[in-house]
Symmetry: C2
Subunit: 675 residues, 2 copies
Amino acid sequence: MPRTRPALPATGPVRLGPDSRAALRPAAVGIDTGFWQARRASNAHVSIPQGPALLEAAGNLHNLRLAAGTAVGEFQGAYPFVDTDVYKWLEAAAWQLAQASDGDLASDADPASDADPASDADPASEADPAPDGDPAPDADLAAEVGRIVALVAGAQQPDGYLNTWFQLVKGGERYKDLRWGHELYCAGHLIQAAVAHHRATGSGELLDVARKFADHVDSVFGPPGSGKPIDGIDGHPEVETALIELYRETGERRYLDLAAYFVDRYGHGLLGGEAYCQDRVPLREATNVEGHAVRQLYLLAAAADLATETGDAELRTAAERLWHAMTTTKTHLTGGLGAHHEEEDFGDPYELPNERAYCETCAAIASIQWSWRMALLTGEARYSDLIERTLFNGFLAGVSLDGERWLYVNPLQVRDGHTDSGGDQSARRTRWFRCACCPPNVMRLLASLEHYLASSDDNGLQIHQYVSGRYASDLAVIRSETDYPWQGTIALTVEETPAEPWTLSLRIPQWCREFRVRCGQETYEGPVADGWLRLERTWSPGDQVVLELSLEPRLTAADPRVDAVRGCVAIERGPLVYCLEGVDHPSGGLDDIVVDTTRPLAVKHRPDLLGGVTTVVAAGSRRHLPEAGWWPYAPADESPDSPQQDGEPVELTAVPYYAWANREDGSMRVWLPTS
Amino acid sequence: MPRTRPALPATGPVRLGPDSRAALRPAAVGIDTGFWQARRASNAHVSIPQGPALLEAAGNLHNLRLAAGTAVGEFQGAYPFVDTDVYKWLEAAAWQLAQASDGDLASDADPASDADPASDADPASEADPAPDGDPAPDADLAAEVGRIVALVAGAQQPDGYLNTWFQLVKGGERYKDLRWGHELYCAGHLIQAAVAHHRATGSGELLDVARKFADHVDSVFGPPGSGKPIDGIDGHPEVETALIELYRETGERRYLDLAAYFVDRYGHGLLGGEAYCQDRVPLREATNVEGHAVRQLYLLAAAADLATETGDAELRTAAERLWHAMTTTKTHLTGGLGAHHEEEDFGDPYELPNERAYCETCAAIASIQWSWRMALLTGEARYSDLIERTLFNGFLAGVSLDGERWLYVNPLQVRDGHTDSGGDQSARRTRWFRCACCPPNVMRLLASLEHYLASSDDNGLQIHQYVSGRYASDLAVIRSETDYPWQGTIALTVEETPAEPWTLSLRIPQWCREFRVRCGQETYEGPVADGWLRLERTWSPGDQVVLELSLEPRLTAADPRVDAVRGCVAIERGPLVYCLEGVDHPSGGLDDIVVDTTRPLAVKHRPDLLGGVTTVVAAGSRRHLPEAGWWPYAPADESPDSPQQDGEPVELTAVPYYAWANREDGSMRVWLPTS
């Protein structure tokens, strides 16, 4: 149903300022069916609605009431940043409300429907309370948001300060422990929630709270000589992107300047000089990402935003350099980031363990946030390549298919006989965390996902990620139908277009070795420049473009410096990383499996499995291991590592990594030994 | 100089009780020259003498004065167990005094002399203040011990309780936080120090303090129905071995019973059921070692002691089962134990990372303590095989050659470009730690090392470890001369012997593929039973036995389930694990090195290097890595892992692992890729 002007969704998490130097502008997308709509349905119908009860049970809302003086009792929670769980939930709920209010772009289908009706047969989807035709309870959600916004507003102190931990537990110690206090971090998440709430609902209620806090922060923090009482930064970067977005939302330049001040004060020893707090070296001089992964990534997202808004070329170069260093040396195959449990640290170059991969779900989200800003700034497709990989793997594994259980860390291997002491960093899915940063972070990203998928510039529209629905800029509207990532065909139809020629740019994924584009009578297999296939022409409504990406499953090897996966391959198909799970290999565990790389991989779609997944079947074997003595090391010429042909043949069934741990708490591995 | 009856050293850390079921009894050894004497010289002349000043600077002694009321101020230190640093130092000093007082067994040489005079040319040994002829300052040490024993005695409360943290910081909260309080752990180290002090000096001053505390503990802790107020255990096992040794020293059966009660109460949820505290499963039911490595190992040492003293067959079987499970699945090549930084945990079976190997120095020590008890209990040589491996590698790396700097964790790899946030768990040697458990633990083991080397039974003498000096039982004295581990020849001469036949048993190391024993006119190459070559005959003074162990350097591979080292080999020679250090490979780093396993290894003794070491030289190459794109993963059939013959040839110089990090804070790796 073509319209003369599409109803664009409310602006998403990133809106460019009037002086922006970005190469691209975010464009609007309506997702209506398919892979991501199913995941968003769980988010909309399970994860987000359950939030308030979980925040109530954990005491977060109680703390706000205590701070407001409307309840009595003790502060609940173990961390000074527990308020951010509320703020991130509010942000998620706001984006969800925004989706509900701009259904036009996704009007051909029920936004709550699951793409795959056969998935009802799967146990994992039985728990999915998003039956076809059940409308999202938007009114209920709006009421919950209103209630919780009022709680937040009530907790704010007269001068704008707001942090229930310090107000209730550490009265009078404001800004005395910037390294660990997280006060500005909390302000940042409050501001982001407020911007989302304003963009989604038009209400200024939360934005007023946020501005008051931001003004307070601006009155306190500033460089020496500014007359502000404190020259300081927060141990956990986050307020910087928030302030920049508040500048974009309000036009108030002070917020941008404050963010720029904060970003440049990291790395000068104000926090003791620790890499953990991003304080060892200034970003402008850094040669690789380091320290606490989420802190590093939020700071880099702010650097990208600053370069976008101010044209700071040195900061842009630093962000590009660090992104390249990160992807080449410190990124897991899943897009997961952070090699150490200890200090949630990036670790050394090429130090990418499997069982102890940290890969915090929040780090995946922060990586997407940073990469999207880099994509907009530079116009280069590789940033969206990493976003795609991260979305489908390292990020999505963080939430169960039913939207009810979470992983804080995302290992690439769980061994046979794994014992787990539980806790937040468990390799087992958990209902909620003591440090509950990840679940509402997942919610806010899924609820705003459509804002990370496409962009426009003066020459046309760029499709970064392939979904079913509509891509719209102020220039044109494109209808997309696809069963991606299960099928590689993306059928695009021009619905609205100006008479003048413009360029439709399609990202050809980095993983793709073969593709074809049919456009009318013509077929293209290139050229691809900077990751883009560009189709410049005069378009007419009804024009069709069909992109076919070859989804041949493949075996992937790592740079030989990644010691942890030497002699191994991983199975991938399209953007999906695959893994073996113990539950699919009942004849034994996974620790003695060898994959036969000389035999072809087979693909089998299994609508009954895990909400409907395409599995990849490989030939393998189980090692015949001699009865062990007491010492597992032996002269290399007597090694028990017998050739694979001596083992017992076994069919290896790989499932997408994002879907692991949805059936049982068993073993899992992404990287498979080849001998 | 044969004597009719050797002057045996004072009894060491383990003395068997009158009803012991041990197969073997500890025998006395006097070390006079060679490898271990050099290491003990650093301990005697640097590490131990520096202890009091370091304990003063860290506040440990100050805390004792505060508790005694002889000083004013605040408690110093971050942990409730800081008193144990003092106790372990006292134990070390006591064993050192014991050595000084039983010089007869090592009378042919200056006990302080370094075996290798050429080592003076090495920078590492320049700092070694143990010049030939400089006598150990025993009087000074004895005075220091007396002074600190008095401080400890002064801090004790009238009812026998003693813990400065609780006395000064947590007054009145005794035994309220057993999971973390470490009160019994502290009691354990006090008791061990007191037993050592008593055995070494004959003084009962510290033993009285310890007994008073033990009696207090015994009055408080006991099973339900015992009438004791608390049915509980300490979060950190340690008091159990101490109580058993106190029983052995005093004959007081109550201490043994109390230890037995404690050991059996672990695993029943008294501490919340966490594996970390050894509380998930009782030892008798456990199938593998788990949780915090040092806690597990101290508990298992107590289990071995209990089985020894009580004949508890189930406990013995559990200890044997767990030792086998540990060595087959959770032990690094160096003998190091503990795979996780987080919670200092054992990790899963076959989870044996390199860069993040924890391998706490204390865990190596605890492993030696446990294995020695198992060796005595069972008479089987494999326990001493592990002791040898651990002593020469995972343990000894924990202290610098000059005795001044320490490693708390002992990784098997440090990457090029490693960044280190410092702190106790740094991969860089440190002068002292915030949690200073390891340094005085190293001191006490080195000072009592001679007690872990030999044993006797009614049939004769067993030599477990080969050193230069004298092995003596109440039956016979054997003089040993060797440059082991640099040379494989051990020349033994019978100095004293009864007229009746008896059996000299020589441990043939597990790593040894070829050996020969010449005894008079005869030559043996076996048989080896349970790890022992047994020579039963009628001996005469002057009889010579020459054991030749082949020290051909070798390449070692791991069980294929040890994923972290797939496609790698390690260089070993004799009991020594070798490593590459960046400092020896200035043409580039170690991350792109490949070893050529088809070329022979060469051996070169370097008296100038690292106090005198034998290096192993291997042929290798540096990979030619193509200029990387931004993504380090690629289809396996396009992998950049080019064959080694395409790389640039490079000579690889391996040094003993124990000697690493004595020149610069560079890169290091034990496991070397083969392609």
